[in-house]
Subunit: 251 residues, 2 copies
DNA sequence: TGTACATCAGTGAACGCGCGTTCACTGATGTAC
DNA sequence: TGTACATCAGTGAACGCGCGTTCACTGATGTAC
């Protein structure tokens, strides 16, 4: 809950504009609170309006429809998680206080994974909105795509930079059969497309594996399909994530 | 849709009992169809009743409440997926037609993973019910736990049997830091508890990693959070799953 | 084999609820002259 | 600085919808004698 008014100098906004921004923020806040309490399916325009003491039709001055509100929540959540991940993945080499810390690529990856997990725990329903089963009757518009890839891009970036700098030391996949040519070509094209030319298909497979495992772990922990498994344990999370990162070749 | 009447000799069931079983089956079928069409949140007792031409209150002769119906669907889905996985994971050594096929532990694991993925694609909403974000307002009763672990147990079984037979050859995790003692102890206790004493903590971590990656991959593919990633590609799935299985030590 | 009673599937009406969205309106805020 | 008009946030009523669950009932099926 940032108090924007005190921060932004309010250049030349009219009272109307300021009120509009503030109420939009309050609506989103209420919507987020309800999302946290009830989940996406329980989010209704009427109850959001109620929370602000408005009449339900007034919300239509701010959002075209329930789906528009949902879309906004999704984009904001992707951006929040993306920003969290980026902050760790792209942290400067070392800071005064953390000079002794390991700031190698491996640590960067593991810390980013931890940050994603922590965010998911802090915002379980928002995480569910992003990575859980789709909200019935809701189709995400194209607008969400750019934000939607931010968290993954933060992770990919770590590997891409390490690969470009020649710092990647992937273990030789001794016994694994070679990738089918078509798949290797597809992965190579994808790497070029996102500006990660130095990432080999084998590394790409390891990376996608690490990435899906990360979200698999978090989802299992969060959605609680693991009543009698050890998942939900930070040490296990670290161990699994570290091993995946090593398989990518991060050091 | 099995036609039970022709199979079961109808030992001594009254007309009432047979009608009850048949209508229960039809209700579940209709519920499953609606689950597939609308998702869990869109499943309603009234529409299920409507589909069978019943009045909504009549459903209460068969299910205590909407939640009871949902629970039944969940248990059935776990059992269906569990049975599918078990059929592959515990298939006899070799059959006449597949004598030339590789029936090693590695192939067993990969085939089981494929079967799970295929089932998920065939039953996307049921998969979502099991492994997606929780249905709002619904709390799964304890009854679901036994069925809920079936799919995982099928996978664990492959590793446990291979380990017990001394067929496991896990690669030495050269650079990975050793597991914290507390975690290692916990994993060892867990292995003993499920009768997989031969599974070492390192192998357990690899296994949990492979398991979570599997469900992560399937969820990403199915829930479509991957608009511009390569996920959704069977060859990639195979490659990733195979590499995880090798990391466990399956051969 | 026939009768009396108990069981139970299905009906239809009702209760009370919440939802998204539209629409004509009032009254305050902003803008152009 | 003052006035006339345009913009727009918020109101309140309404439409039409679907939901889960309860309840007294009818009539067919099953059971005990």
């Amino acid at each position: 809950m940032t108090t924007d008014e005190t921060v932004v100098p309010a250049v030349h906004r009219t009272a109307r504009q300021r009120a509009r921004e503030q109420i939009t923020t309050e609506l989103l806040g209420a919507a987020r609170r309800q999302l946290a309490a009830e989940g996406a399916a329980g989010l209704s325009l009427r109850s959001v309006a109620r929370e602000l003491g408005m009449v339900s039709s007034a919300v239509y001055r701010y959002f075209d429809s329930r789906d528009a509100l949902l879309t906004r929540l999704i984009v904001d959540a992707y951006d929040a998680l993306g920003a969290t991940a980026e902050a760790v993945a792209e942290a400067p080499e070392s800071t005064a206080e953390a000079a002794a810390e390991d700031t190698g690529d491996l640590a960067r990856w593991v810390n980013t994974a931890r940050a994603i997990r922590a965010w998911a725990f802090d915002h379980p329903h928002e995480y569910g909105l992003l990575y859980g089963s789709p909200v019935p009757g809701y189709a995400a518009p194209e607008t969400t795509v750019a934000s939607g890839t931010r968290p993954s891009r933060a992770l990919v970036g770590i590997v891409a930079r390490a690969a470009a700098a020649g710092r990647l030391a992937p273990p030789s996949p001794a016994e694994a059969p070679p990738l089918p040519a078509a798949l290797a070509a597809e992965l190579e094209a994808l790497a070029r497309q996102i500006g990660a030319d130095a990432v080999s298909p084998e590394v790409a497979v390891a990376m996608i594996g690490a990435w899906t495992q990360l979200f698999g772990l978090v989802s299992f922990e969060l959605f609680g399909q693991t009543r009698n498994m050890v998942v939900g344990n930070a040490a296990l999370f670290d161990a699994a994530v570290t091993r995946q990162a090593l398989a990518i070749g991060l050091r």
